[in-house]
């Protein structure tokens, strides 16, 4: 018997001696306090509002984001909605189509929040073509004032469209589709109230309903529509939660064999969720689509711990005929320490993701910590106190049901215990090595960032993303914008050299792989200058003369988001082919190359980055930078806790190795499923690992306890399977079913998270049941040296008179 073991035992005893009286000494007071706290937090939770804070999802300290935030006021207002009308047959130059386009333009005009002066389609008065006449210029609207839906008029419109430089922008190149563009104002100009994006989205959906038929399709994209679609999908998540609850209730019922006990576990777990959500609101956070994952996790973790507790409690009663109080105390003494250690390991694991400098991940980390506090409180205080008052409703029936289940279970477990023998152990380990090699080979292929087409929040086959693809095919604009900011000196707009440098850069960027189109001030100013010069193609240039230059650039309003008020910064907007990390990294590289080697005017600096894809590039870099550290920290913490729990190398390895294998296979799964490493999936690895270790600790502690009592490994494993192993099995299924519904979410990142978590939970369960005993065959002999250092301190004493 060695020193540390003794002290570990006595530390545990000390802790229990301290905590026990609080829970079991003043049970009524405790229940009242917890009840009142729960009510207060429920009240807090009820005030929680969905909150999709976009800035939270980005690394605000990243240098690109500094540029982004600096110019946000000038360039960030590109909050556009795009409605495309596409003729299913023929071209847009049909009277009927024109009429409908006019009606849709009018309808968009009345969408809430729309800046009416800047609605743009070929029907709006701000879309003009320049006609050159002998005396100078004649600007006229593309659609003449005397518009009537006649074939002659439609031909006139077609000719005007050709002179308005709107092909590819308002009219598709193949002339089958036309756009209505509108800008949204974030704040109501009168009331200063923030715009309700959901209402905007709903109105747009009405427009679609009204004008789409078998002749014309209506495609709608824009940030407001994304928010609307995401909010609709979030409502679905609430439904998922109900389904997950029902699933768990059913599983609990089957597992425990008593509906009322199942309900106790379920209800106390709900209390943990209430605590989590209440605390979240108390510290001032909202519930964003990412955070919605956490209640599912909390529910699942709490149920898994609760079921262990209730199961053990019921066993004490049915096998020993103990009172509810005795049974609860015994269970508490047996499970409190490993349970709390496991939960603290979870908390420590979750906390490591706080290191990632992205607010939404930090919030998730804090959120999960709150939830874990709730779980500990519920399972180590509320549940023991509640159970101490209860009696098993029908002991005889429960015992019978238990016996039947055990007969089935025992046969299976007896067979499974063969896994601790040499032959099967070697086989299992060989398979594991094979899987590890496979995972290690796949790992370098993990994509950073989003890999799907369209808006990454929504699924690739969602209506929004199908619309976005169609619009991207027909027009130059798309939802993927990568903006480079040219920072220069005030009034640079009248300096030819500075402007020429920026224009050259824009052309360079246009020719960079992954860029579909580039839009700058010059696209408009050159057209204006040519317009002032008889419409000659050879005048589509940046004029050298300062006055002509001033005249042509002044025609471009700052509201385009292409330049700031004093023209000391210009936006170079690149529409990219997609938002794959490799595409964005290539563009970033190209911009840096130009700035370093090609830029000849040092008064101009090309700064990264803005636009949604610029932000994504920053996020990708942050994710790439953090990926390895997060994994290392999580494992450092997990290994530390494992050592503290068992004080044996065997304990650390038997739990840690399967965990590492699952993490490696998680990467392989990401490659196979095309899931990228991003803000949504980075924390999932930590979550899965944190919960995976939970199984390991429960499983190994029972095996080790058995061995320390003198059992053979095989018997200890058999015993473990009969007690906590069963619970592990149940928990794995329960956790997986809790998040499995997420696979059906309309939100792509929730789906990705769901897949990874289901995999993580089930794989870790298999690891704890199959791989752990195989490893133990080679490693666990060490436990015999710690004979009599029981890990379940004082459980037996619960039955002795106090």
């Amino acid at each position: 018997m060695s020193g540390p073991g003794m002290s570990q035992n006595s530390v545990a005893r000390h802790i229990l001696r301290l905590v026990e009286p609080i829970i079991f000494g003043h049970r009524r007071a405790l229940l009242i306090v917890l009840g009142v706290a729960t009510l207060l937090l429920a009240w807090q939770a009820s005030m929680l509002k969905p909150q999709a804070g976009w800035l939270k999802m980005v690394p605000q300290q990243h240098p690109y984001m500094q540029v982004f935030l600096k110019h946000y006021a000038s360039f960030g207002g590109a909050n556009t909605i795009v409605v495309a009308l596409k003729a299913r047959h023929g071209t847009i130059y049909e009277p009927q189509f024109m009429d409908r386009l006019r009606q849709v333009t009018d309808a968009v005009f009345f969408v809430p929040g729309v800046d009416r002066s800047r609605v743009k389609s070929i029907f709006t008065p701000n879309t003009i073509y320049v006609d050159v006449i002998e005396d100078g210029l004649a600007g006229a609207t593309v659609v003449p004032g005397d518009y009537a839906p006649t074939p002659e008029m439609v031909q006139r419109i077609r000719a005007n469209v050709g002179k308005a430089n709107v092909i590819g922008r308002l009219v598709s190149e193949d002339e089958t589709s036309a756009l209505v563009l509108a800008e949204l104002q974030d704040l109501d100009p009168v009331s200063r109230a923030p715009l309700d994006y959901v209402a905007v989205g709903r109105q747009l959906e009405k427009i679609r309903e009204q004008f789409e038929d078998d002749r014309v399709s209506v495609e709608i994209i824009g940030f407001a529509k994304v928010v609307h679609d995401m909010t609709e999908a979030s409502v679905e998540v609430a439904m998922f939660f109900v389904v997950a609850l029902l699933c768990m209730a059913l599983l609990l019922w089957i597992y425990i064999g008593s509906l009322s006990l199942a309900m106790i576990v379920l209800l106390t777990s709900l209390v943990a969720c209430v605590w989590e959500l209440g605390l979240l609101h108390l510290v001032g956070y909202g519930l964003d689509p990412f955070a919605m994952l956490v209640p599912f996790l909390i529910m699942a973790v709490s149920v898994s711990h609760g079921v262990q507790y209730v199961n053990a409690w019921a066993n004490e009663i049915s096998t020993r005929g103990a009172t509810g109080y005795q049974a609860s105390l015994a269970t508490f003494r047996a499970l409190a320490i490993p349970g709390v250690v496991a939960l603290l390991t979870n908390v420590a694991g979750f906390s490591t993701i706080y290191l990632i400098d992205i607010d939404v991940i930090r919030e998730m980390s804090i959120n999960a910590a709150f939830g874990m506090a709730g779980v500990i409180l519920v399972n180590k205080a509320l549940l023991p106190a509640v159970l101490s008052y209860l009696r098993l409703p029908n002991v005889e029936k429960f015992r019978h049901a238990q016996a039947v289940r055990e007969r089935i279970g025992d046969a299976v477990f007896r067979r499974m215990s063969v896994l601790t023998e040499r032959g099967p152990a070697i086989a299992v380990i060989c398979v594991c090595i094979g899987l590890a090699v496979y995972g290690a080979l796949r790992y370098p292929q993990v994509q950073i960032g989003d890999t799907t087409e369209g808006v990454p929040e929504l699924r690739p086959d969602s209506r929004f993303n199908r619309d976005a693809r169609q619009i991207a095919r027909d027009f130059w604009l798309s939802t993927d914008i990568f903006t480079v900011v040219a920072e220069t000196f005030p009034d640079a707009c009248i300096d030819y050299r500075a402007m020429a440098e920026i224009d050259r850069f824009a052309w360079y960027l246009r020719n960079t792989a992954g860029v579909r189109d580039v839009f700058t001030l010059f696209d408009m100013s050159k057209l204006a200058y040519a317009g002032l010069n008889e419409g000659r193609l050879n005048a589509q240039v940046i004029p050298r003369d300062k006055y002509s230059l001033a005249q042509s650039t002044a025609l471009v309003p700052t509201t385009t988001g292409l330049l700031n008020k004093d023209c000391s910064a210009l936006a170079i907007q690149a529409y990219t082919t997609d938002h794959k990390a490799s595409t964005l990294a290539g563009i970033v590289e190209a911009v840096k190359r130009y700035e370093a080697g090609e830029n000849q005017d040092r008064r101009v600096q090309f700064r990264l980055a803005s636009g949604n894809n610029g932000v994504m590039a920053a996020t990708n870099e942050e994710v790439r930078r953090n990926e390895l550290p997060v994994v290392i920290y999580v494992y450092a913490v997990v290994l530390l806790f494992l050592w503290l729990s068992f004080r044996t190398v065997s304990g650390v390895l038997c739990v840690g190795l399967p965990l590492a294998l699952v993490t490696l296979l998680g990467y392989a799964l990401m490659v196979e499923m095309g899931i990228g490493l991003k803000v949504a999936t980075l924390p999932v690895l930590a979550f899965a690992c944190g919960i995976g270790v939970d199984y390991g600790i429960y499983s190994y502690s029972t095996v080790a306890a058995g061995m320390r009592r003198g059992l053979s490994l095989r018997d200890a494993y058999y015993e473990k399977m009969r007690s906590t192993g069963k619970a592990t099995l149940f928990t794995g299924v329960g956790l997986a079913s809790g998040v499995a519904m997420w696979i059906f979410s309309k939100l792509q990142f929730q789906r990705d998270m769901g897949i990874l978590l289901v995999f993580g939970f089930t794989a870790n369960m298999i690891g704890a049941i199959v791989v752990l005993p195989a490893l133990a065959h080679f490693l666990a002999r060490e436990e015999y040296r710690h004979r009599n250092k029981d890990l379940t301190v004082g459980a037996e004493e619960a039955f002795q008179p106090r």
């Binding site: 077609r158 050709g162 092909i167 050299r497 052309w507 246009r510 193609l537 050879n538 589509q540 000849q600």
Partner: protein, 366 residues
């Protein structure tokens, strides 16, 4: 002083001079104050999309097609489908390209740039670069030595050594300061300039002296083509087309008598005839920028992708259906089809080929 000493002091002097020069160079380093510095020509970026960026003109160098355009881009094609960008020493817009034969060619553009090639457009070098002057709009060589370039605000240059040196021509026709948009040599050797606000001029002595012409139109003329043995066809703003059968006979006007703000378009046929011109009715009113002729008919292109077929004998003008709806600025026949350039770069216009077999089989531009 022995040799070694001499060498050493010389070396010291060189070092000092270099150091001095470096210091001086730093003092007025163009990067420090670019606004003050004379801009040097900067090579065009080699860009995969050069052939689909705006192209301003298209010419034939033997079998090869050569097009020039925005940002100094020069692209060549041997089959009319695949275009390769060639290295261009400037990145400013090139407005016109001219080939004397299969090898020798010139291109002009902004910042007074004149480029020259001796190998059919593969390699180009700068002959002239004057960034404080306006753009040049057209270039014409009579033979390997004698050439002319015209441009904005009455720019009129000539070279007698194949473009190695360019001199401004001192002529009264430059006095109004109007843009000279195009220069052409008619079938009989007469030189003809068309320009801003109806400005027209001719030279019967190969550019030695120039005569201002009375104009039938007050809008700008963008192009001039030979028409028949002595005639010319001029075209420009809003689809205006005029033809004369004898450019030597059209009425001239004294430069003193020219006031571009007081000119009227002549629409009375008799008055027109008195000037020596005939108006050509056209179904289109889009501005025409560029044309190509083979003696008895011409194809003109311009805004909205318009392509007009104009018979020289006065027959009706036909607007050919074209798939384009945006500005075209150059056209060449090539292997039974038409290759056009414009706002969206280079492309084939198959529709035109089908409707104009005769021109389509013609060789290089006359």
């Amino acid at each position: 002083m022995d040799d070694r000493m001499k060498r050493r002091s010389l070396a010291a002097l060189v070092v000092a001079a270099v150091w001095f020069a470096a210091g001086a160079a730093r003092a007025d380093d163009p990067a420090q104050d670019p606004a003050q510095a004379q801009r040097a020509p900067r090579p065009a970026l080699m860009a995969p999309l050069a052939a689909s960026a705006p192209l301003l003109d298209l010419a034939r160098a033997g079998r090869r097609l050569v097009a020039v355009g925005a940002r100094g881009n020069i692209v060549v094609s041997d089959d009319g489908r695949d275009w390769q960008q060639v290295h261009s020493p400037v990145d400013v817009m090139l407005t016109r390209v001219f080939f004397l034969d299969a090898r020798r060619g010139w291109a002009v553009g902004y910042d007074g740039a004149i480029l020259q090639t001796g190998d059919g457009g593969r390699h180009w070098s700068v002959q002239r670069w004057v960034p404080d002057r306006g753009p040049l709009y057209d270039v014409l060589f009579l033979d390997a030595q004698r050439g002319f370039a015209v441009g904005s605000y009455g720019a009129l240059l000539r070279s007698d050594d194949g473009g190695a040196h360019w001199q401004e021509i001192d002529s009264p026709i430059r006095e109004p300061g109007l843009h000279f948009n195009a220069i052409a040599r008619l079938a009989d050797g007469t030189l003809f300039i068309a320009g801003e606000r109806g400005m027209l001029a001719r030279s019967a002595d190969e550019g030695a002296s120039w005569t201002m012409l009375d104009s039938p139109y007050r809008g700008s003329m963008f192009g001039v083509l030979p028409s028949g043995a002595h005639g010319a066809m001029i075209f420009g703003l809003r689809g205006s087309i005029y033809v004369t059968d004898d450019a030597r006979a059209v009425r001239s006007i004294a430069v003193d008598g020219w006031d571009e703000f007081d000119r009227e378009t002549v629409s009375d046929p008799a008055a027109l005839a008195a000037l020596g011109w005939r108006h050509v009715d056209s179904p289109s009113h889009e501005s025409l920028f560029r044309g190509i002729a083979d003696g008895d008919q011409a194809l003109l292109t311009g805004v909205n992708g318009v392509v007009l077929q104009v018979p020289a004998d006065g027959g009706p003008v036909r607007a050919l259906a074209s798939a384009e709806n945006e500005t075209l600025s150059g056209l060449q026949p090539f292997d039974g089809q038409w290759i056009a350039v414009g706002l969206r770069g280079a492309r084939a216009l198959p529709v035109v080929a089908a409707t104009s077999p005769r021109l389509a089989t013609a060789g290089a531009k006359p």
